[in-house]
């Protein structure tokens, strides 16, 4: 008897929590659940998706413009191969943000401009990069 009651409760609790997990998963549009699409730039351009999305890509070299009036105000071009889109971002930029950095931005695409409110640098590529720099040199060049 006690065992039965026990099994029923355990199953009940498990079912409730599992349905809770499913509920949160299925309601991604509800504000603040933190689920959003991760699109490629061409997909974004094709669909003109206007909900909050995430994008990944490289910072187009030479495209970073930082406002003279406010150093926190930056705009740059995000590129994926041939495709690129303009991005504006206001806020503290990560230390590793620079030309050619691989980054992930989060925000909304509105009338041809991506308004990012989150900016992360994907990795410190320098630390995995090829050893081609001024401290190393090719034997055949000597």
């Amino acid at each position: 008897m006690a065992r039965k009651k026990f099994i029923i409760t355990i199953t009940g609790v498990s079912l409730i929590t599992i349905s809770w997990i499913i509920y949160v998963t299925l309601n991604p549009m509800q504000s603040g659940t933190g689920m959003m699409k991760f699109l490629s730039l061409s997909e974004l351009k094709a669909t003109q998706e206007s909900s909050r999305v995430r994008l990944g890509g490289k910072v187009e070299p030479g495209s970073i413009i930082i406002s003279d009036a406010d150093l926190l105000d930056a705009s740059f071009e995000l590129s994926q191969g041939e495709v690129s889109i303009p991005v504006v971002f206001y806020g503290t930029r990560p230390d590793l943000f620079k030309d050619d950095a691989e980054i992930i931005v989060e925000g909304k695409y509105l009338s041809g401009m991506f308004n990012a409110d989150q900016l992360q640098v994907k990795c410190a590529s320098r630390y995995e990069g090829d050893l081609i720099d001024e401290s190393s040199y090719r034997i055949d060049e000597l």
């Binding site: 409760t9 599992i18 933190g34 991760f38 926190l72 230390d95 992360q120 320098r126 401290s135 040199y137």
Partner: protein, 653 residues
């Protein structure tokens, strides 16, 4: 010459691990004890060779031998000695070798400690351990060899150096601690498999690994907390936990490991939950391997994974191999695994433990689900859907609060059945305190989960205090001791129980800290030297800007005064903007870095980041965060470690 020894040791170790398999199989076929001894010795050789290989790599790192690709990538001539050592686990192949290294040390301990013990189980334990070594030896020999030479076309005059973010003392301790935890679960897993194969699933195997599991769990808990501490001190987003895949990777085995730690008590005391325990340890170990896979295969893009590689399929295949072979064994032994005893009452300690276990596993599932959801969504719909912290918080906060509630209920339940009378006697005071906290919170206008959390913290704290007070009272009645001596001797007499309560107290403290997050404030602003800025009820004044040149970087140091509402100065903060390798002629090699300045008090932390500087105008861009109660998270961590140590301290017979 010396680097060759490393590569050769690894190859030899692989060979010997294969020989160990053969010899142990011969033992299982013939039962000739000499084969067992030969196998035992051969695994000893595998372990020693792996350890030697690790020391060789360490030596090369210290000597800066850039002919080895790994050394050239992760250290430089300027890297301080301590970070040359930590470079051992900074990169992929090195960290996999480090995994093997720790496993080999554990293996040696198991081999020597149980030389003449558990004669039935040990051959299989050794076999499982050497098979795990075999897997990592294959990887370090063929897929990610830490001794592979630098491309012959290059002469490397200086290496790349270690990422400044990793040049932090916490980063020197955090990975090894976490690894000691991760890898350590191999041993209970090996014992569980041995118990399954031999058919002896009685509490014997549990007894042999109980203390071991607790030590491993301690390392893992400390590792996870240190990781959060590092993120808080170094990464500059003001938090300690971001539900990053790699953080989740360390958290999931911790959850199942904690469940395991609780449920083995029941098997030891009551011989129940045999299947459940085996399932939990298999799950935990698989999650440890899965975690290494997440961290090191680059399958998720995350701040921790500096690499992408072809390790993925191998690791995933190995996880499935572990899961399927274990499930097969469990099904094969299912009749032996049936426990004789049943749960007698709903209000028993057994049922409380089981409840807590289910909750742990469900949280683990929720975290797992959120972690792999991007991969699954991409495979199914073609569009990758990323999952951010709000998802994890939304899912886990209510379940976590329920778990906190169970932390309070558990100790009050007695074995077999709690009578109504005992129930009322045990719970009336804590429930009253919980309700008072709830009312107090509501009156000052706190709502939602936060007020529930406050009520539960009050409740659980009362339960724990009551346990201690009751124990002290009954000792004083009998022995006529002072409160302090009664407390000390009570804890000393019953270490695992009271140590456990102290761990719970640590967890409650951590929940205090988590609850504080609801009241975080932050502001980001440009400020001219001499000006002030209001942040919440505080005022920040920018008083000085210094330029300093240090050994491997250049720094601008901002001096900030923090005033409270009464215009009294609370503290001074000195966040820095640094440029590493500032003398490097190539501007791409110079690297900016923001060094935080944090003033921590028991009530709130003042957290400052120097994000940018306009040198001509003398304008600094500052981000200030006021994070209440974060201090309690670290306090909770220390209490947790202290409690576990008390539990572990050997009891005089």
């Amino acid at each position: 010459m010396i680097p060759i020894i490393g590569g050769v040791s690894l190859s030899l170790a692989l060979g010997f691990s294969f020989i160990s398999f053969m010899i142990l199989f011969l033992f299982f076929r013939t039962g000739d004890y000499r084969f067992y001894i030969a196998g035992w010795r051969s695994v000893l050789v595998v372990s020693c060779l792996s350890i030697i290989a690790t020391f060789v790599l360490l030596n090369e790192l210290i000597q800066s031998n850039f002919d080895i690709d790994y050394v050239a990538h992760y250290s430089s001539l300027q890297t301080p000695l301590i970070y040359k050592i930590t470079a051992l686990w900074a990169g992929q192949s090195g960290s996999l070798l480090f995994w093997l290294f720790i496993l080999s040390i554990y293996c040696l301990i198991v081999l020597l400690q149980n030389r003449n013990k558990y004669t039935e189980l040990m051959p299989w334990v050794i076999l499982v351990l050497v098979s795990i070594q075999f897997f990592f030896l294959i990887i370090t020999n063929f897929v990610a060899n830490p001794f592979s030479p630098t491309d012959a076309n290059f002469i490397v005059a200086n290496g790349n150096g270690l990422n400044p973010l990793l040049q932090n003392l916490t980063m020197a301790i955090h990975p090894p601690t976490l690894y000691l935890g991760y890898v350590g679960f191999s041993v209970p897993f090996a014992f569980a498999i041995a118990a399954l194969v031999t058919g002896d699933t009685s509490p014997l195997w549990i007894r042999s690994i109980r203390r071991w599991t607790l030590v491993v769990w301690l390392f893992q808990s400390a590792g996870v907390i240190l990781g959060g501490w590092w993120a808080y001190q170094e990464l500059g987003w003001g938090g300690y936990w971001a539900w990053d895949p790699v953080e989740n990777a360390s958290f999931m085995p911790w959850l199942t490991g904690t469940a395991f730690l609780h449920s083995i008590i029941i098997q030891e005391k009551k011989d129940m939950l045999r299947i459940w325990n085996i399932v939990l340890i298999v799950l935990t170990f698989s999650l440890c391997i899965f975690g290494t896979f997440l961290t090191r295969s680059g399958v998720m893009s995350s701040v921790h994974s500096f690499t992408a590689s072809n390790l993925g399929p191998l690791f995933l295949g190995y996880v499935f191999f572990i899961l399927f072979s274990s499930i097969g064994l469990i099904l094969y032994r299912r009749s032996d695994l049936r426990s004789e005893r049943r749960i007698e009452s709903f209000t028993s300690r057994e049922s409380g433990f089981l409840f807590n276990n289910v909750i742990f596993v469900i949280i683990c599932f929720a975290v797992f689900w959120g972690t792999i959801f991007p991969v699954i969504s991409e495979a199914v719909t073609g569009t990758k859907i990323t999952v951010g912290p709000p998802f994890f918080n939304m899912v886990n906060i209510p379940i976590g609060l329920f778990l906190l509630f169970m932390t309070g209920v558990g100790p009050m339940l007695v074995w077999r059945r709690t009578s109504k009378k005992a129930f009322v006697r045990n719970f009336s005071v804590p429930i009253a305190i919980g309700l008072v906290s709830l009312l107090g919170g509501l009156i000052i206008g706190i709502k939602g989960y936060v007020v529930i959390s406050i009520a539960l913290i009050g409740f659980v704290m009362a339960v724990l205090l009551e346990e201690f007070i009751r124990g002290i009272k009954s000792r004083r009645r009998v022995k006529n001791e002072t409160v302090i001596t009664a407390l000390v001797s009570m804890v000393a007499k019953n270490r695992s129980r009271y140590g456990g309560y102290i761990v719970h107290l640590g967890i409650v403290f951590m929940f205090v800290g988590f609850t504080g997050r609801a009241f975080n404030q932050e502001l980001e602003f440009p400020i001219k030297k001499g000006q002030s800025q209001k942040v919440g009820s505080y005022e920040i004044q920018f008083i000085s800007l210094k330029e300093l040149e240090r050994q491997n970087h250049f720094a601008w140091v901002a001096g900030l005064n923090v005033f409270n509402e009464q215009k009294e100065i609370i503290t001074q903060l000195f966040p820095e903007k640094r440029i590493y390798f500032h003398r490097d002629p190539n501007p791409d090699r110079r690297q900016p870095h923001s060094e935080l300045s944090i003033f921590s008090t028991i009530l709130k932390d003042f957290y400052s980041i120097f994000s940018g500087i306009d040198i001509e105008e003398e304008i600094a861009y500052i981000k200030i965060m006021i994070n209440p109660l974060v201090w309690w998270v670290w306090l909770g961590g220390w209490v947790l470690v202290a409690g576990t140590l008390i539990s572990l301290w050997p009891q005089k017979e």
